[in-house]
């Protein structure tokens, strides 16, 4: 028995013939600020649903504060912002906050939840008349109004513009400093990096990395160096270069490196004739490719 606030132990979830989650082990301690990162369909939302008791694991265990996630005592300590859900359009912000507060034993004053969400000026507006960003902030108010210890945010910044996203992440960070446990899912690496102390990378239903943002970045996120060569190159020609992955497709070469300057220096020193040189930051998909490739290598080795 651990003191973890949220726990999945070898959790599996199968929907018909699709296994969305294939043996996930996660333990989140009280006070942690964790981002669960993964591409669409990786199993993030399913994992959250298992943690919340919205779905039952096909195999394995889900626990909230050591209890069954369906237990009201456990639920009463959790706030939730779901990706796919709504509230009645005809209730006002204030009415909804009052309603959701009534579900909790020790809610915060409604004014405080509304202020935290920055909705003071819209408290008497009906939910259906809010803009997209305001609606997300309303969901935030509903997630925190019960003054929960753990808050789950499933893709909270989807549909927000850059400015709204920044303000929103600030709010979450401030909340985390108050000692709240926060778990947020996102497919933006940048968002996980800004916010979390710990990043759990999930792909195709399994956890492929669980570390600090710095560790994750140093292992996967480098620059992508690509160029076209005049003469066909092979791996041997590029041996010794500081790259983490190499793709050769005809005369087009792509390699990933955390030290692209060294790669270029070496390439020029070896007098490899190149054109169409491009150095860009690896995007998330490439980061995942690198991570999954690594994960596969480990299982094979």
């Amino acid at each position: 028995m651990t003191n973890a606030a949220v726990e999945l132990i070898d959790a599996h979830k199968r929907y018909g013939s699709v296994e969305a989650v294939k043996g996930v082990n996660v333990a989140i301690q009280p006070g942690e600020l964790v981002a669960m990162l993964g591409p669409n369909g990786a199993g993030k939302t399913t994992s959250i649903n298992l943690m919340l008791g919205m779905r039952k694991p096909t195999a394995g265990v889900a626990r909230l504060f050591g209890l069954d996630p369906d237990d009201r005592r456990a639920r009463s300590r959790c706030g939730v912002m779901l990706q796919e859900s709504g509230v009645p359009d005809t209730l006002t912000v204030r009415e909804l906050v009052d309603l959701f507060s009534s579900y909790y034993p020790h809610p915060m004053p409604a004014e405080r939840a509304i202020t935290l969400a920055g909705l003071e000026e819209h408290a008497r507006r009906q939910a259906g008349k809010l803009s997209g960003g305001q609606r997300q902030r309303l969901y935030f108010a509903l997630a925190v109004c019960g003054d929960p210890e753990v808050i789950f945010f499933d893709e909270p910044t989807v549909g927000m513009d850059v400015e709204a996203r920044r303000t929103f992440l600030d709010t979450i960070r401030r909340f985390g400093r108050e000692g709240k446990t926060i778990l947020l899912t996102t497919h933006y690496l940048e968002e996980a990096d800004q916010l979390a102390e710990r990043v759990i990378v999930i792909d195709r239903g399994v956890v492929i990395a669980d570390a600090t943002p710095a560790e994750i970045k140093s292992s996967v996120v480098g620059k992508r160096v690509s160029f076209t060569s005049h003469v066909p190159l092979s791996e041997v020609d590029l041996a010794g270069l500081p790259y983490s992955r190499l793709d050769i497709d005809g005369d087009r070469v792509r390699l990933f490196s955390n030290d692209p300057e060294a790669v270029l220096r070496d390439l020029f020193r070896r007098d490899v004739a190149i054109r169409d040189l491009e150095v860009v930051g690896a995007d998330l998909e490439e980061a995942f490719l690198a991570l999954t490739a690594e994960a596969e290598k480990e299982t094979v080795g």
């Binding site: 009201r72 639920r75 709504g86 509230v87 009645p88 209730l91 959701f100 909790y104 020790h106």
Partner: protein
């Protein structure tokens, strides 16, 4: 354990807040409030103007028409407002976030029923007020109250129908399903046309339906011999229908729950 250190919120508070929120939500949707609160008054006004002055078996046409459209009003709330309302809310996934809350699903379901009863109560009060103030209907205080509680108590079979439709079909299919199942029942209840003017087969079918016995429960408040059957008989029929329809509705509810939350 004192209240301030409770692990969970008091169910009673949740139930009251949930019921009130549910009621306000639907009252503010014009499609529901106009249909549920306005239509019965409109129908009463129309038929009262045509047949109100006639008397039959010592009962004034006005009183009879009032009871007819009072039963219509309550049944309408249960099937359209409550049934189609739930289907719409599920269609927009309003049940998901709620399901992740520490709100027991049972409390949410009971609040749905209570808010429908409250809506029906409001519909009746408005209709009664119109009938008294404009329609010239003068019932004794006891009769008004008798009619009120009979119609609320007797509405449970229609609540079952509403629940079955609300949890069984999506928002697009719900109106069609209401038209296929409920409209014939309403038609054969005897409140729009006396059942005895209809073909024999339809009369026989009508006499079995909950809507018919519901209307009879209402007419019984107007005096001896106005209804085809006594209140006890009507209540037994309605209780039996409540058991059958709730059994179906609960089954449908469980299927929906296990599909989405297991």
């Amino acid at each position: 354990m004192s209240a301030s250190t409770a692990d969970v919120a008091p169910v009673q508070r949740m139930l009251i807040t949930q019921t009130r929120a549910q009621l306000i939500t639907r009252l503010r949707i014009p499609a529901f409030s106009v249909l549920s609160l306005g239509m019965p008054v409109m129908f009463f006004a129309l038929f009262n103007g045509i047949f109100g002055r006639q008397t039959q078996n010592g009962v004034s046409g006005s009183e009879y028409i009032l009871v007819s459209y009072a039963t219509y009003a309550v049944a309408n709330v249960m099937v359209y407002n409550f049934g189609i309302g739930i289907a719409n809310e599920r269609g927009r996934k309003l049940d998901l976030l709620q399901r992740a809350m520490p709100l027991p699903p049972m409390v949410a379901a009971v609040a749905q029923v209570l808010s429908a009863l409250a809506f029906a109560f409001i519909a009746l009060v408005i209709l009664f007020a119109y009938a008294f103030l404009v329609g010239g209907v003068r019932l004794g205080a006891v009769t008004w109250l008798d009619l009120l509680w009979r119609l609320l108590l007797g509405s449970f079979p229609m609540i079952g129908i509403g629940m079955a439709i609300g949890y069984g079909v999506g928002p697009n299919a719900a109106p069609a399903v209401v038209n296929v199942f409920y409209l014939p029942m309403a038609f054969l209840s005897g409140i729009f046309f006396p059942l005895r003017l209809m073909p024999d087969v339809l009369q026989k079918i009508g006499h079995v339906l909950p809507t018919y016995h519901y209307a009879q429960l209402g007419y019984g408040t107007l005096g001896q011999g106005v209804a085809d059957e006594g209140a006890e008989t009507a209540l037994v029929w309605l209780a039996a229908w409540t058991i059958v329809l709730f059994a179906i509705a609960v089954r449908i509810y469980r299927v929906d729950e296990s599909r989405k939350f297991s």
